[in-house]
């Protein structure tokens, strides 16, 4: 499965987002996800992909598409892609 699809599936499950309404480029707040909830979500993302997302990285992630780019880059660096 593509990285973005895996992130979307996780968001549907963990954040109870509506599958049909997930816009990867929408600001997280527009999806109804506040910053603390998103941090919890990141723990699930870390476990799902086996990567670490630092607090500094987190500041640059404003939407699910940002998250996909970050994860893809991390996987590439780790040689997992």
């Amino acid at each position: 499965m593509q990285t973005l699809d895996r992130i979307k599936d996780l968001a549907i499950k963990e954040l109870s987002l509506d599958a049909g309404k997930i816009d990867p480029n929408a600001p997280l707040a527009d999806l109804g996800v506040d910053s603390l909830t998103f941090i919890e979500f990141m723990f699930k993302v870390e476990d799902e992909f086996g990567v670490k997302v630092s607090d500094q990285d987190l500041r640059g992630i404003k939407c699910l598409a940002d998250l996909e780019r970050h994860i893809a880059a991390s996987l590439q660096t780790a040689g997992k892609a």
Partner: protein, 411 residues
Amino acid sequence: MGARRVAVTGIGAVSALGNDLEAFYRSLAEARSGVRRLPAEVTLGSGVQVGALADWDPAAHFKGPEAGSLDRATQFALTAAGQALAASGLDPAVADRDRIGVYWGTGMGGAHTLDAAFGSAYGRNDFRLRPLSVVMAMTNAAASNVAVKWGLRGPFANFSTACSSSAMAIGEATHAIRAGRADAVLAGGSEALLSPVILAAWQAMRTLAPADANDPAASCKPFDRRRGGLVLGEGAAALLLEEESHARARGARVHAFITGYGNTCDAAHMSKPDRGGQVRAMQQALAEAGLAPEAIGYINAHGTATIVGDVIECEAIKAVFGDAAMRIPVSSTKSMHGHLLGGAGALEMAVALMPFKQGVIPPTANLEQPDPACAVRHVARNAERGAIPQAVMSNSFAFGGSNVVLIAQRA
């Protein structure tokens, strides 16, 4: 105090006896116990066998991810508070919410949240704790969530005095309304401590009842010579307290008036109750209500079913009520809903109001062999139906020596 009388216009309850007031009162009237064997995942290695575990599905009460951001105790609190508000007919959207307060009580707040955090950190060496851990676990989490949910911006307080917490919340809320600080207060308490570590801590005190060999539901036996200790419960209860003229102006149904509040401290021992402190609290409540002892028509006892506690409470009742102690019906409904600790005072105030609403005095379930050292006028095993009392008393006596007594009178 002057003319401002404090009415009860709404009641809500969540416990092992059901997730609404109707189910709660029905169970009490039928003397049905919510005590049961605890599942292995709840008790783990604690050694605790029974508890009054609520039959609780968060998804039935909260939408989407909301429940995940609320400790179990807060889930109970919001549900009971919502019931009380709905039953009162008071719509916060059209009320002056600066004049509506929240007074709440809890012993430990979000214990399940802390349990999960400790489990993650110590058990799995995973220190990525939930960012909401602090605001979910804090003792005022339930009170604050209740205020936020309905935008109640008036006086706000949270009491944590172990088993008297929510009785104190009701007493202090009553005084706040009388003093003119609020028109209405959503007052109550909540507790959810049926988690392995908390159970183990209670077990270490050696105050918990073992499972009854024949019937786990009958494990809690207040005032019975076979009693072996208390049974922990969980849940929440809330009362919508309202200044009488405010309630009358909107045509609300008044169930009762809270007229007496006694509050004393034993200042003697952390866990051993003291007759003198209990006597003074009952006398204070009677004096505030302006009632003679014999005016009380039902006493909901603290009655935890510990060896020492039940005897001391009965001695205190006899000291206050004299000969009338053998005439005034007394029961401990902890035999059915378990001990809600910080939520106990509010839940048992809801019980004490039951005779006004239903003409039924709930019993001490499982009381078959009354201890001669607990000689009061017991309502044993089955509910009694008869004359509706004019006034009722509810006792809440806590670890740490806090004694709170509430009196309500028929509307």
